[in-house]
Amino acid sequence: FSLPIKSVFVTFPGDVIKNMTDVEMADKYLKRFGYLETLQRSGFQSLVSTSKALKTLQKRMGLEETGLLDKTTLDTMKRPRCGVPDIRS
């Protein structure tokens, strides 16, 4: 007894949120709020830009500036917020 229930994720009809990987979600977040676009425009490679963008975001949100998509950063990205971009091009 006490077998853990095996969670089965289902697709909920009408769910606005599409299942995305963390990387996809982060990429979308960084673009939406102006972090990624600004840095890409300065000519960096995408990978480098993402790391820089993450650092910019982490600095702005008062997080440790790792440049990595760590759990704290992901949790911050999932918090409710205003839709106005943080950084304007």
Binding site: V8, F12, G14, V16, P80, C82, G83, R88
Partner: protein
């Protein structure tokens, strides 16, 4: 803090706003109040003033919408993005949009403002006890008409205070039916509907017909959300059904099973596996006041701040006793400068010992040749025999529906015992007696016969009350008397105040300024006057118009 590039700001300090629609989550009066308080956050520290418009184009147009709502920045369902706003300018600039896939509250769970009943529109008290059972939401128990109700105190048995909860059976909002309730069943495109529906709409809002046949009558309204209603999913507005079946298991409460985002959901029928009808469970919701104050910061020209405690920080955080962070103050004052001139007098009963002069006042009459339209503010306004009377410095004018205002007439000719300056007046509809208030005294006229002056303390008002600023007749020979933030109920047959008063004006008449100088009843609406403006409240205690006394009432 940051401003937008080019320091975008309004080129005028008298900023206007207009509320284009309402969320089903909160009563319109609570929404109006939340927005008014959100603007006050900024007007308290700048020279800016905010005036609400009810039609036309305002600087800041406020609306609720879901997903794609008419601009290039769609919302994203429940949670995530809450709202956005545009910096000052023409067109969409300055506008504020709120995601109606959120649950809009005052930040601590669904706020249920009651209607009718005997609780004067007070909020539901959850949990409450009724016949020995505890209730955490509105109930139809004890009623045969299926109308949900709640107690506004902890124990209905003891206090017997109750009101009805938002329900499409009680009223609708928006639409074209003057807030009439739904009629079930109704016919729409040949189909029969027994409940509110989103059919026929692309914006996801639930609606109903307010006659039995929409196809014939085209009368409709939007359905208010019940406090138990789920959000999002494909059953918006429905309530959870417990127990429900999901993947063969039975659930008696909301669950996050089946989701990888941990969010709680429930089925709205007893079997999700067969019906797949679901929605997110109601939670604390987001404070419309806090989010609006943030968005209005954008609409005034502030960009996101890097200070975590600032209102303009981009992430939502609920704060119970909110005050602007120094960073926000510096930001908005960088754009508009600090507040200048005298501060408004603090709300609340006047506690100074200065009494307003009454009989000793030398009147400063307006020039009788001048038109009433020259007067900026009136001492008192009241309806006598279906004619509005405007009092000012020893004179008064009369205005009927159709005619231009007549006058001025000398107060001393009509009511010789009165001082030149009166604060409030009303006619008792039963006896046709006229009651006048000036300073701490009152007079009662029966035709030409007068009683008074007598002290308003005799009526049961405390000595701290130095004026009666407004009076509103109610049914059963009752009159509400207003002073500062409070009001009392007078029984004119006994000339005694009813027990249970004073009450706070703001809790019962939400959305009107706290520093009004006149309150009166006219054609079933209550008018709260401040300066040249009035706030008009309907019988359901919703402010449904703000306007100019001069233009709207006097037709200058």
């Amino acid at each position: 803090y940051q401003s937008f590039d080019g320091d975008l700001k309004w080129d005028h300090n008298d900023v206007t706003y207009r509320i284009l629609n309402y969320s089903p989550d909160m009563a319109p009066s609570l929404t109006d109040d939340a927005f008014a308080r959100a603007f006050k956050v900024w007007s308290d520290v700048t020279p800016l003033t905010f005036t609400r418009l009810f039609d036309g184009t305002a600087d800041i147009m406020i609306s609720f919408g879901k997903a794609n709502h008419g601009d290039p920045y769609p919302f994203d369902g429940k949670d995530g993005l809450l709202a956005h706003a545009y910096p000052p300018g023409e067109g969409i600039q300055g506008d504020a949009h709120f995601d109606d896939d959120e649950i809009w509250t005052l930040g601590q769970g669904t706020v249920v403002k009651t209607l009718y009943g005997n609780a004067e529109g007070a909020l539901c008290h959850f949990p409450f006890t009724f016949l020995g059972k505890s209730y955490s939401s509105c109930t139809t128990d004890g009623r045969s008409d299926n109308l949900p109700w709640c107690s506004t105190t902890a124990d209905f048995g003891t206090d017997k205070k109750f009101g009805f909860c938002p329900s499409e059976l009680l009223y609708t909002f928006g639409g074209n039916s003057d807030d009439k309730p739904c009629v079930f069943p109704f016919v729409f495109l040949g189909e029969t509907y027994d409940s509110c529906t989103t059919e026929g709409r692309s914006d996801g809002y639930r609606w109903c017909s307010t006659t039995d046949n929409f196809d014939n009558d085209m009368k409709f309204g939007f359905c208010p959300s019940r406090e138990t209603a789920v959000v999002g999913g494909n059953s918006e507005g429905e309530s959870c059904r417990f127990p429900f079946q999901f993947q063969g298991n039975s659930y008696d409460s909301c669950t996050s099973e089946g989701r990888n985002d941990g969010r709680l959901w429930c089925a709205t029928t007893d079997n999700f596996d067969t019906d797949t009808k679901w929605g997110f469970c109601p939670d604390q919701g987001y404070s419309l006041f806090l989010v609006a104050a943030h968005e209005f910061g954008h609409a005034l020209g502030l960009d996101h701040s890097k200070v975590r405690d600032a209102l303009m920080f981009p992430m939502y955080r609920f704060i119970e006793n909110f005050s602007l962070n120094e960073d926000d103050v510096e930001g908005i004052q960088y754009l508009y400068g600090p507040k200048t001139g005298p501060h408004p007098s603090p709300p609340g009963p006047i506690t100074t010992t200065t009494t307003r002069p009454t009989t000793t006042t030398t009147p400063t009459p307006v020039d009788p040749d001048n038109d009433v339209c020259q007067v900026t503010t009136f001492d008192a306004i009241t309806e006598i025999g279906n004619v509005l009377h405007f009092f000012k410095d020893g004179y008064y004018w009369k205005k009927t529906n159709s005619d231009k205002a007549k006058g001025p007439f000398a107060i001393s000719e009509g009511w010789p015992a009165l001082p030149a300056k009166i604060d409030s007046a009303f006619e008792d509809p039963e006896t046709k007696k006229m009651y006048f208030f000036a300073g701490t005294q009152f007079w009662v006229y029966t035709g030409k016969k007068v009683l008074g002056p007598r002290s308003i303390e005799k009526l049961g008002l405390p000595s701290s009350v130095q004026t009666v600023e407004g009076s509103v007749q109610r049914k059963g020979s009752k009159v509400l008397l207003f002073n500062g933030e409070n009001y009392w109920r007078l029984d004119v047959t006994t000339l005694k105040m009813d027990r249970g008063y004073p009450r706070t004006t703001d809790t019962v008449f939400g959305g009107v300024p706290s520093d009004v100088h006149d309150v009166f009843l006219y054609k079933g609406h209550i008018y709260f006057c401040r300066d040249r403006f009035y706030w008009r409240m309907n019988s359901r205690r919703q402010v449904n118009r703000v306007g100019y006394i001069k233009y709207d009432l006097l037709k200058c």
